[in-house]
């Protein structure tokens, strides 16, 4: 009996050691990744990469940084009215059956591989409509990738608006639009913005949907909507690391480092916003 129990305890301990080891292993991989990107990235950062454009496989990253910022900014402008508008309609206006259908289609969109979105837009916009590699095609690709994140956060946020607040506002005689603008919207705004920031983090790091929509350019991006390819940071990471030159490798490391910093900052702000929002709503309750 005693030996039976102690054997079970030993077995239990053995498996838990394996579980803890798997956490340690995951952290080790993460450490290797961060160490690799940060050590090589910091070594590769020179002030002039922010001011010079890429020349072939050398030079700076000014065009890629500007291109990434431009593509993501336009994608945000495209996704905000669609994603948040759709969530407002679903939570405020939609009949039950349509509500389910819209949510389902967003779920489906979540599962569409980003390369499929990219190839679809390549065929539809770049080829069939003849836009060529362009800012609008690239931004549309990013907007479609971001859409499910933005929509879902907005849907959750607007669904969480307390019903008694809305009813109190209506009971006080406020018009529906006033109730929405003064009660529901302020309540749902932080959650929606958090989702938007998470989407921005995703968009910053995307490569596959941009390769055949935004294309690549060695020059600073223009604001021309079509027929003008745009450079972006992830492209540099992907292609320059396969060049046989040290200088191009340095640019790839620098680009990866800048991307990671950008994504960490957006994710950190998103997380801090959640905390702030949670503490604020707690103090109101």
């Amino acid at each position: 009996m005693v030996s039976h129990v102690s054997r079970n305890v030993a077995i239990s301990r053995f498996w838990w050691v394996l579980c803890i080891a798997s956490l340690a292993g995951a952290l080790l991989v993460l450490l290797s990744l961060f160490g690799f990107v940060f050590v090589r990235g910091i070594a590769a950062i020179r002030p002039d990469i922010f001011f010079t454009v890429t020349q072939g496989i050398a030079g700076g990253l000014a065009n890629a940084i500007a291109g990434t910022l431009l593509l993501v900014t336009l994608a945000v402008l495209l996704v905000v009215p669609i994603g948040i508008g759709a969530a407002i309609w679903v939570t405020q206006f939609a009949p039950d059956r349509l509500r389910i259908v819209v949510r389902l289609s967003i779920d489906v969109l979540f599962g569409v591989p980003s390369i499929v979105v990219g190839y679809f837009l390549y065929v539809a916009l770049v080829e069939t409509l003849g836009w060529g590699f362009s800012l609008v095609a690239g931004s549309l690709a990013l907007a479609i990738i971001m859409l499910p994140y933005v929509y879902r956060a907005a849907d959750l946020a607007f669904s969480a608006v307390p019903r008694d607040l809305v009813e109190a506002s209506v009971a006080l005689g406020a018009r529906p639009l006033t109730t929405f603008l003064r009660v529901a919207f302020p309540w749902a705004l932080p959650g929606t913005l958090t989702g938007l920031l998470i989407g921005v983090g995703i968009a910053l790091g995307e490569t596959a949907p941009l390769i055949y929509t935004a294309g690549w350019s060695n020059y600073m991006p223009t604001l021309a909507p079509t027929h003008s390819p745009v450079g972006y940071l992830t492209y540099v990471v992907w292609t320059f690391i396969n060049e046989p030159f040290k200088e191009s490798h340095q640019l790839a490391y620098a680009a990866a480092f800048l991307l990671m910093i950008g994504i960490f900052v957006t994710n950190f702000v998103a997380r801090a916003a959640v905390e702030y929002w949670a503490s604020r709503t707690r103090s109101h309750a």
């Binding site: 803890i20 569409v112 065929v123 790091g205 990671m260």
Partner: protein, 317 residues
């Protein structure tokens, strides 16, 4: 109601986007579907044909360049094998990590560990690919593959050519690392959603903590875990950049062992487009679209099953 109308347009766009994407790809692909027939799924050779030859190769009334053949079997096999092998690596690790977080970690460590897992999920695919190219591939090529083929070569698929490091094994490792944070987060939430009393009651009956987990906790959240695995599997199937950078870009050859170069549907759409554009008949580009459509349908199926599984778990709570 202007607001209602405007927002309903936004919702309509969300609704139509997926339908439009499917229908447009189907329309664009149609000549390739007719030209390729079943060979897109069961033929090994991908060849855009002789662009300078005379005459053309005609199947079902669709003309491509002479000798053109668009077989997707290599890419389909690569996609499924890399994702499956990634699951073999990722599932036990993710379960171990999630169980540790929920049942073993002191309270003050939980928040930072969760933050790290979240951070890991945010790292872009191309950065995983960079790390894979510079750190993982040489390690696999110089150490892991020679060691395994030498000592465990008698096991099927582990023997033979150790390769350069670029191949199925490296692709699966990178995929496993990439999908692990999503899997950990989902399994953790499933475990936390379950009443703690399940674990505690089992402990009170005298079982060890591991018995409590395997006999009481895990059986009751089985469908949720299956859902988490399927979501991760769906991600792995569609992952592009990291796989493209470490998989070895195989073409016209099936993998011989787990270190062989492979190619996936997502990766081949990127790597073959430039050559496909040069196909004057246009069938090559449409065949790539057909591959993208195949990937779309597979992802859709996997995600649907995952959603049904997760919904089943939610209902049982």
């Amino acid at each position: 109601m202007l607001a209602g109308v405007l927002t309903s347009i936004a919702a309509g766009i969300c609704l139509l986007l997926v339908v439009l994407m499917l229908l447009f790809l189907l329309w664009y692909t149609w000549p390739a579907i007719r030209y390729n027939g079943l060979s897109i799924l069961n033929d090994i050779t991908w060849n855009i044909g002789n662009q300078y030859g005379s005459g053309s190769s005609i199947h079902n009334g669709v003309a491509a360049e002479p000798g053109a053949e668009f077989g997707g079997l290599v890419f389909l096999v690569g996609t499924l094998l890399s994702a499956l092998l990634a699951m073999v690596f990722a599932v036990p690790l993710a379960l171990g990590v999630a169980l540790t977080i929920v049942y073993r970690l002191p309270e003050r460590l939980r928040l930072p560990i969760n933050a790290l897992i979240e951070l890991m999920a945010g790292i872009p695919s191309v950065v995983y690919g960079l790390w894979g190219t510079i750190v993982l591939v040489p390690f696999v090529g110089n150490r892991v593959a020679p060691f395994i083929t030498h000592h465990f070569g008698f096991i099927p698929f582990l023997g033979g050519d150790a390769g350069s490091g670029n191949g199925l094994f490296s692709a699966a490792i990178v995929l496993a690392i990439m999908v692990m944070p999503i899997m950990v987060a989902t399994v953790r939430d499933v475990l936390l959603a379950q009443p703690r009393s399940v674990y505690e009651a089992s402990m009170a009956l005298g079982s060890t903590s591991w018995q409590a987990v395997t006999h009481a906790v895990l059986p009751s959240v089985r469908t949720g875990i299956v859902g988490a695995i399927l979501v991760a599997f769906g991600r792995a199937l569609g992952e592009t950049m990291a796989v493209l950078m470490v998989a070895g870009n195989a073409i016209n050859i099936l993998p011989q062992n787990i270190f062989s170069p492979i190619n996936t549907i997502a990766a081949v759409v990127v790597s073959q487009l430039e050559s496909a554009v040069s196909d004057a008949s246009g069938v090559a580009q449409r065949s790539l679209a057909e591959l993208a459509l195949v990937l779309f349908v597979i992802s859709l199926a996997v995600n649907t099953i995952a959603r049904v599984a997760i919904r089943g778990q939610d209902r049982s709570h």
